[in-house]
């Protein structure tokens, strides 16, 4: 490092600059999504309330079920999207951490620790709001969707088995499954494990998740 301080300094500054650009992109995207979610959340609440009011005052049963069915769909997807945003946040953070680690390794620098501290405070990584919304949404789902008890492990397996035989899954569901699989993958024991590595992941229902057929995200036309 002592040999050419200017060269090293320039390269380092450039690297930091590039990282900052990326972080900026994360932040921008994240905050846009967050804003959308806030609006969407409120609208869903409004819709539920409207439907409930309509039904309790005079609505027809079929109308109620229809509209509730729509709301159910939308809520579940909303929940899914928010979780995927959380995943976005985490994956990018993990990526940055790995990049920094590699940088330090390559250059013998000490960039990682202070830089990652800054990253921790970035908007895209401060997901309290989204997390809260997810939980709230989850609660609503439990109330709105599934008043009927039926949860057994075996039935879940059966359903999964059926799914394996059918068409590949798409959309949010697909992305969620991919996210879980990726997380599992990233956290496999690696050769460069150190203090800052995450331990391996043990997913419940792992075999179920693995059994889904997943399309490539790139449509083949």
């Amino acid at each position: 490092m002592a040999a050419e301080p200017t060269k090293y300094g320039k390269a380092k500054a450039e690297f930091v600059y590039m990282l900052n650009n990326e972080i900026n992109k994360f932040n921008v995207f994240f905050m846009e999504q967050e804003e959308d979610f806030i609006i969407c959340h409120k609208e869903l609440q409004q819709r539920i309330k409207t439907v409930m009011d309509k039904w309790s005052s005079n609505g027809s049963r079929t109308e109620y079920t229809d509209e509730m069915a729509e709301i159910r769909n939308d809520i579940v997807d909303f929940h899914g999207e928010m979780v995927l945003l959380e995943n976005y946040s985490n994956i990018n953070f993990t990526g940055l951490a790995k990049i920094l680690k590699k940088y330090d390794k390559r250059t013998g620098g000490l960039l990682r620790l202070p830089f990652i501290q800054k990253v921790l405070k970035q908007p895209f990584f401060t997901i309290d709001l989204v997390s809260k919304l997810v939980k709230e949404c989850g609660n609503i789902i439990d109330e709105v969707l599934f008043p009927i008890e039926e949860d057994k492990e075996e039935t879940k397996e059966q359903k999964g088995a059926i799914m394996v035989a059918t068409e590949p899954v798409k959309g949010i569901f697909r992305n969620t499954v991919v996210a879980l699989l990726t997380m599992e993958e990233i956290r496999r024991v690696s050769s460069t494990k150190d203090h800052f590595s995450l331990p391996p992941l043990n997913l419940p229902h792992s075999h179920l998740i693995h059994s889904f057929q997943l399309n490539s995200p790139i449509p083949i036309l």
């Binding site: 959309g171 949010i172 995450l198």
Partner: protein, 433 residues
């Protein structure tokens, strides 16, 4: 009915596409839902494609970067996506004429002074860098000065065109030392990155084009109230809303964009039949027809929720783990610096011992004591080793060993570990999973 949430998502994407004009960001992927395989490469490559790797003009720089990219390529990738990214890294390196020189000018001019650099992050990492090495700081400044003098005169035009608030840049004199690369002008890179603030309100130095602010539910409620008072989302005007809301720091641009989002979110469900068809097909698409017919919509939904909840849970756990790891890392670093200070103050302490102490910890090159252990365990073990170290080295035993043992003690209290290092910590880590 198309999930109302979809539309806001895609409109969010449109906004992204408009703003990040020249730089395609696959970081803002379609629909806002992400296939992970598409994401990690883009972290590295996408930015590389558009900008920063320098054309091979300066002898020193490319050497550094090409070396690193070669090394990256030769390392066994951690996962598939990384090998993709290194491949494209090498591929794009030589190909692009980029605005790196302009960017660097910008960057270096930001660095020597901690004035309201538009990018908060740059500013703070400037602070970090500056504190790390003062020498480099002055070197950069010299270099930056040099750069200004040799810069192509066209730059003055370009600089005038930008929204960048950087009064320090004088009109440069032309002279031909550094090769004159005509820099491509990437608007989005020069526009100050940090157009957000950590709270809800933007920094006032940001240009009015796209101040980024962070909305909260409370703010949104205030917005809704204002809108309702003004007669609904169709009738309300941004100006009126802004006035009614009366929130400090909120600009009309924020309100405008938020209103637009709100309108789309509301009126998507209510547009013509064309939409309702779209809605139906997309629902089916999502659930996949066979899924629906074979196990019913409710079951499909349940399954979906189940998987989503699981992902959420895992993410939470992972995030907490990451936070803790970083916290410990930071703590150790602090202790280091304290100890180093103590030893330096003692004066003339041979640095070899402290180097031994310092070397393993930041985590860069650590001897393989970690194999087969969980991380926190390894962390603890490491501390106990280093705890013994300075004692043996026999340098200032009192101070250093007491310093280290305090550190160890504090670490132990922090992670509630007893004598034999990792057990309770690892137990805790396992239950978390």
């Amino acid at each position: 009915m198309l999930a109302m949430c979809f539309f806001p998502v895609s409109s969010g994407r449109e906004v992204m596409e408009n703003s990040a004009s020249l730089q395609e960001s696959s970081l803002a992927p379609s629909n806002g839902t992400l296939g992970n395989s598409s994401l990690s490469p883009s972290i590295v490559t996408d930015h590389m494609c558009a900008s920063a790797l320098p054309h091979v003009q300066h002898s020193h720089n490319p050497a550094f970067i090409s070396q690193s990219s070669r090394d990256l390529a030769s390392l066994p990738p951690l996962d598939a996506s990384f090998s993709q990214s290194t491949a494209s890294l090498i591929h794009t390196q030589g190909n692009k004429d980029v605005s790196w020189s302009l960017d660097r000018l910008q960057m270096f001019l930001d660095l020597p002074e901690n004035t309201p650099a538009p990018n908060q992050l740059v500013e703070s990492s400037t602070g970090v860098l500056a504190s790390e090495d003062h020498n480099k700081k002055t070197n950069w400044q010299e270099w930056a000065d040099d750069l200004i003098n040799v810069v192509d005169p066209d730059w003055s035009k370009i600089l005038d065109n930008t929204n960048v608030l950087n009064p320090r840049v004088e009109v440069p004199k032309p002279s031909g030392d550094i090769s004159k690369q005509q820099p491509q002008f990437h608007q989005n890179q020069l526009v100050p990155h940090g157009e957000f603030s950590s709270h809800a309100y933007p920094s006032s130095t940001a240009p009015p084009t796209k101040p980024r602010m962070r909305w909260t539910p409370e703010l949104h409620e205030a917005f809704l109230e204002a809108v309702n008072q003004l007669g609904g989302s169709e009738r309300a005007t941004p100006k009126g809303i802004l006035k009614l809301m009366n929130v400090e720091g909120l600009t009309i641009y924020h309100v405008k964009s938020h209103l637009q989002k709100y309108r789309t979110a509301r009126y998507m469900p209510e547009t013509s039949e064309g939409t309702s068809e779209k809605r139906i097909t997309s629902i089916e698409e999502m659930k996949s027809i066979d899924l629906k017919t074979s196990i019913g919509i409710t079951e499909a939904l349940r399954l979906q929720v189940e998987v989503q909840k699981q992902l959420h849970e895992q993410l939470e756990i992972q995030r907490n783990l990451q936070l803790r790891i970083e916290e410990q890392g930071r703590y150790l670093q602090m202790m280091f610096e304290k100890q180093k200070k103590v030893e330096d103050e003692k004066g003339g302490v041979p640095s070899s011992a402290s180097d031994d102490l310092l070397a393993p910890l930041p985590g860069s090159k650590h001897p393989p004591c970690n194999n087969g252990k969980s991380d926190s365990e390894a962390l603890e073990q490491d501390h106990s080793r280093t705890g013994i170290g300075p004692g043996n080295a026999g340098t200032n035993e009192d101070k250093s060993s007491s310093g280290v043992s305090t550190k160890q003690k504090m670490l132990e209290t922090e992670s509630t570990v007893h004598d034999e290092s990792g057990f309770s910590v690892s137990k805790r880590a396992r239950t978390e999973k």
